[in-house]
Symmetry: none
Subunit: 400 residues, 2 copies
């Protein structure tokens, strides 16, 4: 739905909407059992909910397109993921509550391990602990480059954020990550004239950083990617007329929600705390975005059983989730992460919407197969918001 | 998928993709048996393959739109058939390896039979043999019209190609084929000012040709249609990063593939030779387009049984096709040609994709009904390419 039309049709109501995003929800069946993660797991609560819901499969971006977390979530928030693009650096910076200025250029950093020849032997430096990388970030903070102000901030594990602040900076800068081991970090290059000075600054920063890190056993190098400025996204609360809260443990998802204009609420403790915060702030918001990461993490690790367990753990919270009494409750995924592929994939993602106004199907279980035959069919993820708004009686009639 | 995005996301791999187009694949059920051609035919190999595949129905161009062979194939090659349009004349000329210049205007010609009043009594002149039409084309080659160079070349049966070469020619010229019998051939008229002289040249050519053909018992007239210049299509190998080969017996399909930038490989002997050429050239290409015409020919003739036989004949080649060991194997159609209609139709077309990364459904047979319930649902044919690329692990992740 066009966002101007959304703004025009949205109408006030007192109804509440909850969107639960199970990251990497969709899966693929194992050949031995012919059962996917959702089919293997015991999900009695989700199954019961599915019976009273409309179900279908969302296409996150387009046929065959494997989305990153950014486009996957943007689509669920109603943004055309082809049109709105958010750089990784911005996502990371916003996620740690770094207050990006309009001219800042942010990049996502990874500590990595370099071998004796200077080639990358581990792209994540053995996923070093946040405490260690925080100390290393302190060292990097001492780097000064003329004509620009530099900020380095730890994120989590081997990840950090670099922000460049100054005049005439550009974000058309290539990644320094060769995306595989056995190669040295790349030089940053400018994809436009306006970004040439920025690329030079980046390369100087990297050279100085490698000097400072050379005594490290694991994190003796770094890579930078996703150079980006803060995007001007139409704001979610204004577009849909919803006071929106985001409940996410991981920084990147809080960052994403914040860029869309939602209010991130702290809830480091995971689902029980996320649900408690919703209870506490029930009257302050109309829309709650709840992010659940464990499904994707297990899928990315190729751990079928652990993904089943993550699903079952979530299933255990479903009664509490339902007890909140939202008018519209949705269970969705930003993309599939089949354990069999140990990566994000393009496969459509199971989706469920519960409200008073559902058209029931024959659904007995919440899984890929039954969602395929559900009343919503296969549909673009960007349609989730208008559907939710409709079921919340928050969209006016279109046309006379 | 936008072709610029395709270019940006496509990544190298060693995987192989095969697209088999069964021309006019889709059908309609006979009232007596309630079975379509695909349901009537014994297709044990395709059925077995369908069990291990994702299936669905492709919409070639749009709801209700009956495509010609051009748009039907372009869509399967990833081109938006609304945006990219190839004139029939260009298709025919390219198919016989005529080297069209950028300013040439090509038209498809049909010999036809005119009755004593000059009305068309047979639009295909009894489908005269290629040897006869080749002789008649020799006569037409003697025609000279001032200010333009004319080329006339035989194609097959009653078909030939006319190419006009000269300055300031336009292709906005109407067909001379009234599309039914009982009417005389139409005068060519210009749809734009720039094409007025071209239309006049065409009419002069036709008048002179009718003089030269008047002694003929069957082919005493001709019609011309599909006036067109060579289109500038984004090239398939460059867009998708695939070295692409086309294996088609009929000229038009080779022509189409060539315009898209594929390499046509000679294989006049049909499926066994097509498969042998793929085997011989396996290392030289990443993508093989295989065209099978018999299904459409039987459908066009309204011959239900023959279409079933054509399907069964193809089915007999499926084990050899599978033995090639492609990473992605697709069985598709450019459009439906239900024998009941004896013509192309708009009905969605059965589609099957086999790879390691399929999400299995409950498919037991390859036919319209089961494809409707397949895991791909009903989807635009233009999505076939991104899907194939995804399953071949040749598309990078979109967005951070």
């Amino acid at each position: 739905m066009d966002l101007d039309l959304a703004r025009r049709l949205s109408q006030p109501n007192t109804t509440k909407i909850i969107l639960c995003v199970l990251d990497g929800l969709g899966g693929l069946a194992r050949a031995e059992t012919l059962r996917s993660e959702l089919e293997q797991a015991q999900l009695s609560n989700l199954d019961r909910l599915a019976v009273k819901s409309e179900v279908g499969l969302t296409v996150p971006v387009g046929a065959g397109i494997t989305p990153g977390s950014g486009p996957g979530h943007l689509a669920l928030f109603g943004y055309d993921p082809y049109r709105f693009d958010i750089g990784r650096g911005v996502l990371e910076a916003t996620g740690i509550d770094f207050d990006l200025g309009p001219d800042d250029v942010a990049a996502r950093g990874n500590f990595c391990t370099l071998d004796a020849r200077g080639d990358i032997s581990d792209r994540r430096a053995g996923r070093i602990a946040t405490e260690i990388s925080s100390q290393l970030v302190q060292r990097l903070k001492t780097i000064e480059v003329e004509g620009v102000q530099l900020f380095v901030e730890p994120v989590r594990d081997h990840r950090f954020v670099l922000v460049l602040r100054g005049k005439d900076l550009g974000d058309a800068v290539t990644t320094t990550d060769p995306q595989r081991t056995g190669l040295p970090p790349l030089q940053a290059t400018a994809k436009s004239k306006e970004s040439q000075r920025t690329a030079a600054i980046v390369n100087e920063f990297v050279a100085r950083a490698h000097e400072l890190l050379k005594d490290q056993p694991q994190a003796n190098g770094l890579t930078l990617r996703g150079f980006a400025k803060y995007p001007a996204l139409p704001q979610f609360p204004d577009t849909w007329g919803l006071r929106a809260a985001a409940l996410a443990v991981y920084p990147m998802y809080r960052g994403l929600a914040k860029i869309a204009g939602m209010t991130p609420l702290a809830c480091p403790g995971g689902m029980p705390e996320q649900l408690q915060v919703i209870r506490d702030r029930w009257d302050d918001f109309d829309y709650f975005f709840v992010h659940y990461k464990k499904t994707d993490a297990a899928g990315e690790d190729g751990d079928f059983e652990r993904k089943c367990h993550a699903l079952q753990e979530f299933d255990g919270h479903v009664p509490d989730l339902m007890a909140l009494g939202a008018d519209v409750l949705m269970i969705a995924g930003d993309h599939s992460t089949p354990a069999l592929m140990a990566a994000h994939s393009w496969h459509p993602v199971p989706f469920l919407l519960h409200s008073k106004y559902i058209r029931e199907g024959n659904t007995q279980h919440f899984n890929e197969q039954e969602c395929l035959n559900g009343s919503l069919g296969i549909f673009p993820a960007v349609d989730v918001m208008p559907l939710a708004m409709a079921h919340a009686m928050r969209l006016q009639k279109y046309g006379a």
